[in-house]
């Protein structure tokens, strides 16, 4: 099968429309993941043993099962339980929830990387809890988190094609529908691959810069 430039060019607008949805889904998913991840991380540190154990189990469970199945669960099971969500929203919640469990680990790693002495010093100088977090712990905990978070953001971006399985019209789904109507697979599939590759390679360069700027944190 020959590569047809004219055809490749003609499907570009459709693919770019899908690409826009991909970016929106990634952006919204990242927000959900960042917020929920913080909630998970805080609940896990709770002094109530049942609460922290329960959260740990939920996080382990979500990390141990495939995102695709979780998306199906949200998209097919929740409507039966009376909660009907639009496809994109179901996708954003599913991706956000899945990556929140990874983000929780990053938060935990960042907070634990602050030396014990800093907590003790904060207490010794009689700072309130709020002051301790805002002025001592967070300024030291956040910078090492940034490269790790960016890494998961990239990982999530690469997982967005899964949303096509729950009928979100993102890049992959647009490519599939083009392929199915024209019976040409080479151009759409390759173009999708190239688009992902370009974004990833650019992100890798940005990541290297972030790592130099804020230092590497081991996952």
């Amino acid at each position: 099968m020959e590569w047809d430039w004219d055809f490749a060019w003609s499907i570009m607008p459709t693919l770019l429309a899908g690409f826009r949805i991909t970016l929106i889904a990634t952006f919204l998913g990242a927000i959900v993941a960042a917020v929920l991840g913080l909630v998970f991380a805080i609940l896990r540190r709770s002094s109530n043993r049942w609460l922290s154990r329960g959260t740990s189990f939920v996080v382990e469970f979500i990390r141990g099962t495939p995102l695709l199945v979780q998306l199906y669960f949200i998209f097919y099971v929740l409507p039966d339980l009376g909660l009907r969500l639009p496809a994109l929203m179901a996708g954003v919640i599913g991706m956000g929830l899945h990556y929140a469990t990874y983000a929780a680990e990053v938060y935990r790693g960042g907070i634990e990387s602050v030396p014990r002495g800093q907590w003790e010093a904060a207490r010794a100088t009689n700072l309130t809890t709020r002051q301790t977090w805002l002025h001592v712990i967070l300024p030291q905990a956040v910078p090492p988190m940034i490269p790790a978070m960016a890494n998961y953001l990239l990982a999530m971006f690469k997982e967005t094609p899964l949303l096509s399985a729950i009928t979100v019209l993102e890049l992959m789904n647009q490519a599939k529908s083009v392929a199915n109507s024209s019976y040409r697979y080479v151009e759409p599939m390759t173009l999708v691959g190239v688009m992902f590759l370009i974004v990833s390679l650019l992100s890798v360069i940005a990541l290297r810069w972030l790592e130099r700027r804020y230092g590497r944190v081991s996952q």
């Binding site: 099968m1 099962t65 495939p66 199945v69 339980l81 997982e159 094609p161 992902f196 990833s200 890798v204």
Partner: protein, 218 residues
């Protein structure tokens, strides 16, 4: 809704396909990880470039895109693949690229003195790798390999989209036949969780085995 046993059998058949995919994919990933990981620190520049290109390509695009590309585009160049072959290939090559970075990192983490000591006692390159470097690098790789194996297990669900009847595919079949959504999806979620727990349990045992005798060293 009476025929639960029948539907459960269907899902268990899918579970077996998932297990097979995970095992074969992991085996391929392991081989590829060592080839590309060692290739990246090779003395020959072309081998290094080739490994880097492979790793960046497969880490840069998602498993989903790779799978569709292998399944739909490769046949047009003449290579006919069954869904199972395409699935194992995509999973193995994708996770292998992540594994290659682990292999490279672990080998580079072995202290320089060990390399120099090997040269001093006149070991060949192969002896160096086999008897000195790998026994020390392997324990460093295992925890990340464990995570990679779980990622691979999770990625197997994607092959259901090229009509391979794995666990996720069978759950969709049950859903469309019974209209019941809760039972099939909860069942497979629990099964996936059991499998990933089994992987991390097994990996911890292997880890204990390979770190035996290294206590004094590290």
């Amino acid at each position: 809704m009476g025929d639960w046993a029948g539907y459960l059998t269907l899902i268990l058949q899918g579970a077996w396909v998932t297990v097979k995919l995970t095992l074969m994919g992991s085996a391929l990933a392991l081989v590829v990880a060592f080839l590309a990981g060692l290739g990246r620190i090779s003395h020959h520049a072309p081998i290094r470039w080739l490994s880097t290109a492979y790793i960046e390509f497969f880490r840069g695009t998602s498993i989903f895109v790779q799978l569709f590309w292998i399944y739909f585009v490769l046949p047009m160049t003449g290579a006919e693949l069954t869904p199972m072959q395409a699935g194992v290939m995509a999973l193995g090559l994708n996770v292998g690229a992540y594994g290659a970075e682990v292999v490279r990192g672990a080998i580079l983490a072995v202290p320089r003195g060990q390399h120099e000591a090997c040269i001093a006692v006149n070991l060949t390159r192969w002896q160096r790798l086999r008897h000195v470097i790998l026994p020390q690098a392997l324990p460093l790789m295992l925890p990340t390999f464990c995570n990679n194996a779980i990622e691979l297990l999770k990625a197997t669900s994607v092959v259901s989209l090229i009509s391979l009847s794995d666990m996720t595919f069978q759950a969709q079949v049950v859903r469309s036949q019974t209209g019941s959504t809760l039972m099939p999806f909860v069942t497979i979620l629990v099964l996936y969780f059991a499998m990933s727990s089994a992987i991390s349990f097994g990996m911890r045992r292997i880890e204990r085995r390979v770190t035996r005798g290294l206590d004094g060293v590290r």
